[in-house]
């Protein structure tokens, strides 16, 4: 059994009624996620690729249980997470198993909390830790994210983009989740910083067995980190499979377009 099984997930949003439409007619909806199914084995990484508006971030938010799907199942080790409504998911027993890392690392941290406090909060609320045990786990989480201890007393505005990203990672990994959902965590970072973070994520996957659901629009980065890839377009998965195979012989024209957009450092113009 796979760690994560997503089946026929659907999420719609209401659209403003078309001009001149009579009241009482069925309101138009946007099918943001339109029947998505995914499988992620324990200790593996799955890349979810697509353009803005393709529904990849919405899918990630549904799996992370930040939003409620209209229909479909999200099973973690066989347990259907979708049955708990999003507003109660924060207190669900599996909350510590599924953690999130956001794109805007600095923006997703409370500006008035130090790195230490940011990392401690999930450990307090979800693992009930306090005192020395809490302190020990904070240091351990910082070490796992390779966040230097000297930075723990800093506020988000005193951190660089790469350092803030590591605080976000430490916050998520502190609970030792089984599934880490990452929404474009490196797209705003310089290559020099991006590379360090990707290597850290890969090491966490291999050493701790954390599964990664990695949302990105950059196939090159997905290739580095993910064994499996699913390409989304307009709410649907148009192609999926082993990353190397999908990239070598893309079958959907959109995947081919994504490949063509990747630049190369060598070779002719």
């Amino acid at each position: 059994m796979a760690l994560l099984e997503v089946e026929s997930l659907v999420k719609t949003y209401p659209l403003p009624p078309a001009p001149g439409q009579r009241a009482g007619r069925q309101a138009p909806v946007l099918r943001a996620v339109d029947g998505v199914s995914l499988r992620l084995e324990a200790g593996q990484a799955l890349g979810l690729v697509g353009e803005s508006g393709s529904g990849k971030s919405t899918t990630a938010a549904l799996v992370a249980r930040l939003a409620d799907p209209d229909s479909g199942q999200i099973r973690l080790d066989g347990e259907d997470l979708a049955r708990v409504p999003a507003r109660r998911a924060a207190r669900a027993p599996w909350r510590a198993q599924v953690q999130l890392v956001f794109q805007d690392a600095a923006g997703s941290l409370n500006p008035r909390h130090t790195a230490q406090e940011a990392i401690a909060q999930p450990l307090q609320h979800l693992a009930g830790l306090s005192g020395q045990a809490l302190q020990r786990r904070v240091l351990e989480a910082a070490a796992l994210a390779q966040l230097p201890e000297a930075l723990l007393q800093r506020l988000p505005h005193q951190l660089s983009g790469g350092q803030a990203a590591r605080v976000g990672l430490a916050r998520a990994i502190g609970l030792r989740p089984r599934l880490l959902i990452l929404d474009e965590p490196t797209s705003a970072l310089d290559v020099s910083v991006q590379m360090g973070l990707l290597q850290r994520l890969d090491a966490l996957r291999r050493e701790l067995g954390v599964s990664l659901l990695f949302v990105s629009h950059d196939l090159e980065v997905v290739r580095l980190l993910c064994q499996q890839v699913a390409v989304m377009r307009r709410g649907r998965i148009v192609e999926s499979g082993v990353t190397e195979q999908v990239m070598e012989a893309p079958r959907h024209p959109y995947t081919a377009q994504l490949m063509a957009a990747l630049g190369e450092l060598d070779g002719a113009d």
């Binding site: 660089s160 290559v191 020099s192 590379m195 290597q199 990747l262 190369e264 450092l265």
Partner: protein, 352 residues
């Protein structure tokens, strides 16, 4: 009074010296600093953030300015546009566009320059547009500010510009507000606004960062095609090496406010001379390389507010550092002789 910090030091060999007669953009020994509170208290001139930067750009060339965030790329572009923040100070050097000295330009001259010679495309296109005015009217405003046009003429030209930047359903889009357009379309509108100036120099500061990867490629292709058709000079700021390789004829690599390497784009990336350029390349994902093959760059940009920065600001991150890197600014070395536009040079003592 000359406030340049290094006037006492011997001048470095400079890429500008043996260039053809009339580059469109000529930056010579330019230093830019910030009048911070500590600097004001000490009574000394501000420390140079951008230090002794020299480069030039010919009509028709596309120069990619690459380097990590905080390396001073945007600061240079803002200096060329006359848009430096109020606390920034030009500490020395020359800055010319089409032969005109920008550092002594009056506000009236700046207005002329921005209406007829210079144009800039910014990173966040939606923020650069007026949110409460349809884009057609924003284009007409720009067109009418530089030439006396009737409303009908301005409207026709606005439409023509939208068609040139390949916005589909252009006639209908004239009435659209920025929030009704995608990020890629907003960037096309911004490019149309820039083109309405018929500029000779186009500055593009990370014009596609934050856009989808397929949109990025399309926008850059459009930008470089229009630039070459109009024989504009283009300065493209980016931190994406693969993108710079694809769309630029030349590259200039900056680290911590210093220019470290320049040359034809293909050569600079295939045979990087400077250890910093090599480090950037080694950290860039590319086909055929696994995660373990890529190398993270050691260290991070030094704090430019420090008074004790080494002469080569890469020295503390460099694996080939020598003792003189701390005290002597590195000389420029060329890989081979040739016409100036083909020269590939770097400023590093390890090349001696």
């Amino acid at each position: 009074m000359n406030t340049h910090r290094h006037t006492a030091l011997p001048p470095t060999v400079n890429p500008v010296m043996d260039a053809p007669a009339s580059p469109l953009l000529e930056v010579h020994d330019l230093s830019i600093g910030f009048a911070t509170a500590p600097a004001a208290r000490s009574g000394r001139p501000p420390l140079p953030t951008v230090e002794r930067l020299s480069l030039q750009l010919q009509p028709g060339q596309t120069l990619g300015l690459v380097g990590e965030s905080g390396s001073g790329k945007s600061l240079l572009a803002l200096a060329v546009m006359g848009l430096l923040p109020p606390t920034a100070r030009i500490l020395g050097g020359r800055l010319r566009v089409a032969g005109q000295d920008l550092l002594s330009a009056t506000p009236a001259q700046w207005q002329q320059l921005r209406r007829h010679t210079l144009a800039m495309v910014f990173q966040n296109p939606r923020q650069a547009l007026n949110p409460v005015r349809p884009i057609g009217l924003q284009l007409q405003d720009a067109l009418q500010s530089r030439a006396p046009l009737s409303r009908a003429q301005a409207q026709a030209q606005a439409l023509a510009l939208l068609e040139q930047v390949e916005i589909d359903q252009a006639p209908a889009r004239l009435k659209a507000y920025p929030h009704e357009l995608s990020g890629g379309m907003c960037q096309r509108v911004l490019l149309a606004l820039a083109l309405s100036r018929e500029p000779r120099l186009l500055l593009a500061d990370e014009p596609t960062t934050g856009l989808d990867i397929t949109t990025q490629a399309a926008i850059l292709k459009l930008l470089t095609r229009l630039a070459s058709e109009r024989h504009m000079a283009t300065l493209l700021i980016t931190h994406n090496l693969a993108m710079a390789r694809q769309h630029c004829s030349h590259l200039a690599v900056m680290h911590a406010g210093q220019l470290v390497e320049t040359g034809p784009a293909a050569q600079v990336l295939q045979h990087p001379l400077h250890p910093y350029t090599r480090g950037l390349r080694a950290a860039t994902p590319q086909r055929g390389l696994a995660l373990g093959d890529l190398q993270a760059m050691p260290g991070s940009l030094p704090d430019l507010g420090r008074a004790d920065l080494p002469a080569c600001r890469f020295a503390e991150r460099c694996l080939q550092v020598q003792t003189r890197c701390d005290t002597q600014p590195p000389e420029w070395r060329a890989l081979a002789s040739g016409p100036p536009e083909a020269l590939h040079r770097a400023a590093c003592w390890s090349l001696n």
